[in-house]
Point group: C2
Chain length 199, copies 2
């Protein structure tokens, strides 16, 4: 809930969201204090509660902000009509592999991290994660449906189920990448997704 709505307030709010994205991604929800978020945002700690009711409601907005940014990336690839449907997915997965290599295989997917940390205890965060994961899977499902229409992929499976499985497998590959400290789980996931599941 926004409690301060003037221009200065909006800028403070924007900085707190940016700080929260950085801090939650690096250290998780419980590993991050409101004071660290305020420090990263370069705003006084007290102003946090002028803008957000609690760390929990703040976190739900962080989920939206994270997916909003990621959605820009998804659109870039999945709206590219110059590529055949499966090549859009391939280009997206390749870009993700490059990205995770660039950041030294760290931090992973903030949505995945918050899912395992908070799904049982923070209903507002869980339901926001659910909505954003559903939206993300929907983008994959549309791509698979196009690939089926174009004859690139067999129509034996329902796009929504295939898309859900692929997205979840990708999240699992990111999890394992962080434990193994190699990019291999992502490369193997990409290859099974494109060569075995989508055929």
């Amino acid at each position: 809930m926004t409690r301060t709505t003037n221009a200065v307030g909006n800028e403070t709010r924007r900085r707190l969201i940016a700080g929260g994205l950085t801090e939650f991604h690096a250290r998780g929800f419980h590993g991050t204090g409101v004071d660290a978020i305020a420090r990263t945002a370069s705003v006084p700690k007290g102003s946090f509660y002028n803008h957000f009711e609690s760390k929990q409601t703040f976190c739900a907005e962080i989920v939206d902000a994270y997916f909003e940014r990621h959605r820009g990336k998804l659109d870039l690839f999945f709206n590219d009509r110059s590529l055949a449907p499966l090549d859009r997915l391939r280009a997206y997965l390749d870009e993700r592999i490059e990205y995770f290599t660039r950041v030294e295989l760290k931090r992973g997917c903030l949505m995945g991290n918050l899912s395992l940390e908070l799904a049982d205890h923070e209903e507002a965060v869980r339901s926001r994660l659910k909505d954003r994961f559903d939206e993300w899977a929907g983008i994959f499902a549309d791509c698979i449906e196009s690939a089926q229409s174009a004859g690139q992929v067999s129509s034996a499976f329902r796009p929504s189920e295939l898309a859900g499985f692929i997205l979840n497998s990708w999240e699992g590959a990111i999890l394992r990448m962080r434990v193994e400290r190699t990019v291999k789980p992502l490369e193997i996931a990409r290859d099974f997704i494109l060569q075995s599941l989508l055929r």
Copy 2:
């Protein structure tokens, strides 16, 4: 590191490990204090540091204790020579789906949870998780190799890569189960694993 090795000490240690398993699984590493672990274990808080150097080294032992318990379950299915190789995997996945349904889709896999929470920051925990995940994937890989020898599964893919992808996909399905609050991601994962990946 065990600092107290007499019988009473061993019992205290055993209770702390059991308490740690319960608490870390329910609330995560950062969400759990040493005092809560001692309380659940019904031992004085001070005795924790008689047995463990730190919460971090304790957590590495919790990873082993968790996998040890889970390994009992894996052995039950994967050593069952009365079943064809793929039916061992199917029986294991079915049991997991029943288990997660029974616990109301909560808590998930402790190894997965600790991976996303700690892999970047706690090297001792990360390397223990890596070893246990590798062991777990090895059990899947042996099963797939047997299924290939028995002609149940095509030999087009390497058992180790297939096993890794399947384990990671399963972890990802557990993640999504907790966000969606339905068992469907696990059922869909089981079906794709058995009908599409292993064919």
